[in-house]
């Protein structure tokens, strides 16, 4: 159960608490996570918007993992999707040859053996183990933010229902937390809109959080750095726009870890000073 943990730029740069809590929870579930040294960006939305060469960077990450003989667990939606997309495209032998000639320049090659899974996918396979580790069932009402790119496009993701995903609900239910239904549950958070329209990004976040709070949630649970970036790092702008949108953001493994009886320190809860009302 040894795996490489692909942080991606967002988690590496901004959310050490997501990394910490994912590591400790996955280790309770029997995984041995290894740090992914020398990883690079998955290419994100940026490189594909300018060039087909994005696949070289995505394939570089896959090739590094293959050299270590390890499959990848990733924490964000887009990273998961881009690495999976590269893997699928590299089933084409001609493209693989082309990509490999580029990888050879940096001393790497890739045969296509690495399996990429988002955290939700591996947690879903460990439901029995999660249930067995819950020692302090949570008395908390939470709303869920489903990470779009873990389910869509479905031909790349090949996981769960693309419009109404169930995995996160089923996993969170194991913690004892009450999952509130809210009107905007299956809407995208809108974080990426921040890139070209701060107004649209902030209003999207405000609408979602206000809808979740109105439904009685005490926290919004995320499993993607990009969602957290909007909800947590833009909290002030969101509150300024909509006072009723005040809601703490918790990463899924932080929530699970709380139900496992892990400490605030182990789960990095003091890094962003998450206080649950």
């Amino acid at each position: 159960m040894e795996r490489l943990l692909y942080l991606g730029c967002m988690v590496y740069n901004r959310f050490p608490d997501y990394e910490l809590s994912a590591k400790v929870v996955l280790s309770k579930l029997g995984f041995k996570l290894r740090d992914f040294h020398e990883f690079a960006c998955c290419s994100s939305t940026f490189i594909p918007s300018v060039s087909d060469a994005w696949i070289y960077l995505a394939a570089y990450n896959l090739a590094l993992a293959e050299r270590r003989g390890l499959d990848i667990i990733s924490l964000c939606g887009t990273c998961t999707s881009m690495l999976k997309r590269a893997n699928l495209m590299l089933e084409d032998e001609k493209l693989k040859e082309k990509v490999n000639s580029r990888l050879a320049e940096v001393g790497l090659s890739y045969s296509g053996s690495v399996v990429v899974s988002h955290l939700l996918e591996v947690l879903k396979e460990k439901e029995a183990s999660i249930r067995a580790n819950v020692t302090r069932p949570l008395n908390l009402r939470v709303a869920l933010q489903h990470p779009c790119n873990v389910f869509r496009p479905s031909e790349v993701a090949r996981f769960d229902n693309p419009f109404k995903p169930k995995a996160m609900r089923e996993i969170v239910a194991l913690t004892g937390a009450e999952i509130v239904d809210y009107a905007m549950e299956y809407e995208c958070c809108g974080s990426t809109l921040l890139l070209t329209s701060k107004t649209m990004g902030i209003s999207s976040g405000a609408d979602k959080l206000a809808s979740a709070r109105e439904a009685g949630a005490q926290a919004i649970i995320v499993s993607c750095g990009n969602c957290a970036y909007l909800f947590d790092r833009h909290q002030e702008d969101i509150r300024k726009l909509e006072a009723k949108a005040e809601l703490p953001t918790l990463f899924l493994p932080q929530l699970i870890g709380m139900a496992f009886g892990l400490s605030r320190e182990e789960l990095g809860l003091d890094i962003r000073r998450v206080e649950l009302g």
Binding site: P16, T45, F46, Y60, N149
Partner: protein
């Protein structure tokens, strides 16, 4: 791959459209192809199986790149990451986390040598 018959199903599920991005008959016809959340509900909604992802990326390459995208591309070309990472390992140390070695910039330069920013 299917062809767009302008049914409008993609618009109906598009968060950018809902928030006011001026859109033609389909998400691919609008002028601003960058104000997109990348949620790809449009792909799931399309009854014709149009490869909206690839077409959207190709369309973006024909237009002017917004500054935020230019910045993202530039960071990746220069460092291998989509944002500044200079202090990241010092911050990790503060939280008692080990350093993660970064990708070598010369590796990124080789891999992405075809990518040009005008």
């Amino acid at each position: 791959m299917g062809e767009c018959n302008r049914c409008g199903a993609c618009k109906h599920v598009c968060i950018a459209f809902k928030r006011g991005v001026a859109t033609g008959a389909s998400v691919l016809e609008r002028e601003d192809r960058f104000t997109c959340a990348g949620c790809w509900k449009c792909i799931e909604a399309c009854p014709e199986g149009v490869d909206i992802y690839s077409l959207m990326m190709e369309a973006r390459r024909r237009g002017r790149l917004p500054d935020s995208f230019r910045m993202g591309v530039k960071y990746i070309l220069d460092t291998g990451y989509a944002m500044p990472m200079r202090g990241v390992n010092a911050i990790r140390k503060m939280y008692g986390m080990g350093a993660i070695r970064k990708v070598k910039p010369e590796v990124v330069k080789k891999l992405l040598r075809d990518v040009e920013l005008d």
